[in-house]
């Protein structure tokens, strides 16, 4: 890649004003958030692309990252946010209740059909007492309030002061720390300090070593050691040619 699509990049800090939750991993009734913020989530949160308030029909079957990001891929890009220092987590228990006056907590189910109670007492299992296929109770591991993350924003977009992240739309403060010009480095061996989205990596690089954080929708790499062209942003280095769903598009 000879040209750089983005002439400048901003180093930003994300300050969690509330506990942040993503379902990165689900183990039994415990739902884990990994200690990072995915760049697709950040792209939506920054308001660069919008998702509808209501999903219906076919739209529920598949996310529309490719379609959504296509419109902005030429003008901006954001890396997954990596923690500043150690990430701290908190656990929280949740349980869901209905709006009925009478209810009972059964096997992962809040039953509200009172008329089923005599049946239940006879040892029969009315359907309203069977376990539900969506969580009624469990524990959440969330990124604790006060954790800070940093990431690079490429392009010239205006950034909001606050964004909302995660399942519970938790408030996060955005601070721009510094702006840098982006310079292109010739192909060579480099090490990147930033977290990188596997789906966005350019195809031309040779990858030597990395740590993998396996989360949906795409795994995240850290400590990537690679050979190829690179972008230099201040003292920081990332592979050149990062692009939303870059790997996907070239495979097609």
């Amino acid at each position: 890649m000879s040209t750089i699509p983005f002439s400048q990049a901003k180093l930003i800090e994300l300050n969690c004003l509330e506990p942040v939750f993503f379902a990165s991993r689900e183990l039994s009734d415990t739902y884990y958030t990994e200690g990072l913020l995915g760049n697709y989530a950040l792209t939506y949160a920054l308001g660069w692309v919008n998702s509808p308030y209501r999903l219906q029909g076919q739209a529920t079957g598949r996310p529309t990252y490719k379609e959504d990001f296509q419109t902005i891929a030429q003008s901006c890009y954001i890396l997954p946010a990596s923690p500043i220092g150690r990430v701290t987590f908190r656990f929280e228990r949740f349980n869901a209740l209905s709006d009925a006056y009478w209810y009972t907590m059964t096997n992962n189910r809040v039953a509200t059909a009172r008329e089923d109670l005599p049946l239940q007492r006879q040892g029969k299992k009315p359907s309203s007492f069977r376990a539900s296929n969506f969580p009624q109770t469990g524990r959440l591991r969330m990124i604790e309030r006060g954790n800070k993350f940093q990431t690079l924003v490429f392009g010239n977009q205006q950034l909001p002061d606050y964004i909302r992240l995660g399942k519970f739309a938790s408030k996060v403060k955005v601070n721009v720390l510094k702006e840098f010009p982006v310079t292109l480095l010739p192909p060579g061996e480099y090490q990147s300090q930033f977290y990188l989205n596997v789906a966005d990596l350019p195809t031309q690089i040779e990858v030597f070593a990395f740590d993998l954080i396996s989360i949906p929708p795409a795994p995240i790499l850290k400590n990537l050691h690679f050979r190829g062209a690179a972008w230099q942003i201040g003292e920081m280095i990332v592979p050149a040619g990062l692009h939303y769903c870059g790997r996907e598009n070239r495979n097609e």
Partner: protein, 341 residues
């Protein structure tokens, strides 16, 4: 009409895509009785969090937290009570039961479903357009939490039953004292005038929060400010910290509510210079708006108001006319809900 002053940031109708219209409500929530907010079950301590005391005062103190779900759950339930009473809850397709929270079968049609959202497995989902935040107590948790010992006596009035066995129903649990103030920032996105009235009504009229709310948990909500903007305003944590600084020392429980309100209002006046703020209601406009909300929720007008609000979603409940007849299924792109305006 003060509500019209907000019209640049109000939607004219529900639309499926966000349009960058933010309304921010500054709410002060005051406990009127003992209250219980805990996340780890009975016997555990109250929800609290170590945070910086003020923006400039960098002492670390432990503050009580009223988490976002403890605010929004009773408030949407309040609204639903009236929707149910006025026959505005719909039946869902799945099992033909009437719309009910937490059954995996929301009706997807009622005012509550459209505003506060739902997530049903596979069948679709609606994001909430009401963004809440954890609210914080102004004073440190240690100052405003007390202990109560509870014992459940037998019907003979003693702790021993007729066989002489001692009762084991003895427990000590923490509670939040009456007169504790929580400061809160509520953000509304792309709501219409009637939706705004509905939400404000829910906030003002909900009176019980937290655990054991049939006995304790009485709370009074007051709205101290309303902003319209193109972006989000500071968080409730920053609000409570700035207010803490503005209150000055010495602070001890019980705080005078008027002193708190003055300090909070002083803090939020500076917000009108923030990036993106286009409207701030004055005290008088705020009072007018609250009485407008109360009129719409009054016995005389509630039925008309709720029915009109419910009616506004009617286009989204209709099945679109099939324009591509004979072209096979899956081609009909004109389902109204998915149309981007």
């Amino acid at each position: 009409m003060s509500i019209q002053k907000l019209s640049p940031v109000l939607a004219t109708t529900y639309e499926n895509f966000p349009k960058g219209r933010f309304i921010t409500l500054i709410v002060i929530r005051t406990t009127q009785s003992e209250t219980i907010f805990r996340t780890e079950g009975s016997g555990e301590s109250m929800c609290n969090e170590f945070v910086q005391a003020g923006v400039t005062n960098d002492n670390i103190i432990q503050r009580l937290v009223m988490t976002k779900r403890k605010q929004v759950a009773p408030e949407r339930r309040y609204g639903r009570e009236h929707l149910r009473a006025h026959d505005l809850l719909f039946t869902n397709i799945k099992d033909n039961s009437i719309c009910s929270l937490n059954t995996n079968a929301p009706c997807e049609m009622c005012v509550d479903c459209f505003l506060y959202g739902f997530a049903a497995g596979g069948g679709g989902a609606q994001k909430s357009r009401i963004w809440t935040e954890d609210a914080f107590s102004i004073l440190p948790a240690t100052d405003v939490v007390g202990d109560r010992t509870i014992n459940a006596i037998y019907e003979n009035g003693t702790m021993r039953d007729e066989k002489g066995n001692a009762s084991t129903a003895l427990n000590t649990s923490e509670y939040i004292k009456p007169g504790v103030h929580f400061l809160d920032v509520v953000t509304l996105k792309d709501v219409t005038t009637d939706e705004l009235r509905y939400i404000i009504g829910n906030i003002l009229f909900t009176s019980r929060y937290g655990a054991v709310s049939s006995r304790v948990g009485r709370m009074e909500n007051q709205i101290l400010g309303i902003f319209g903007s193109i972006t989000e305003l500071p968080s409730s944590l920053e609000l409570v910290q700035a207010t803490y600084d503005a209150l000055g020392e010495p602070l001890e429980h019980p705080l005078n509510i008027n002193r708190v309100i003055t300090a909070t209002k002083q803090v939020i006046t500076n917000w009108q210079n923030r990036r993106g703020v286009s409207v701030q209601l004055s005290d008088e406009e705020l009072t007018n708006l609250i009485s407008d909300v109360e009129t719409h929720w009054s016995e005389a007008e509630r039925d008309t108001f709720l029915k009109r609000l419910s009616q506004s979603y009617e286009p989204f409940r209709q099945v679109a006319p099939d324009k591509n007849k004979g072209k096979g299924k899956g081609k009909n792109k004109n389902t109204p809900v998915e149309v981007e305006n």
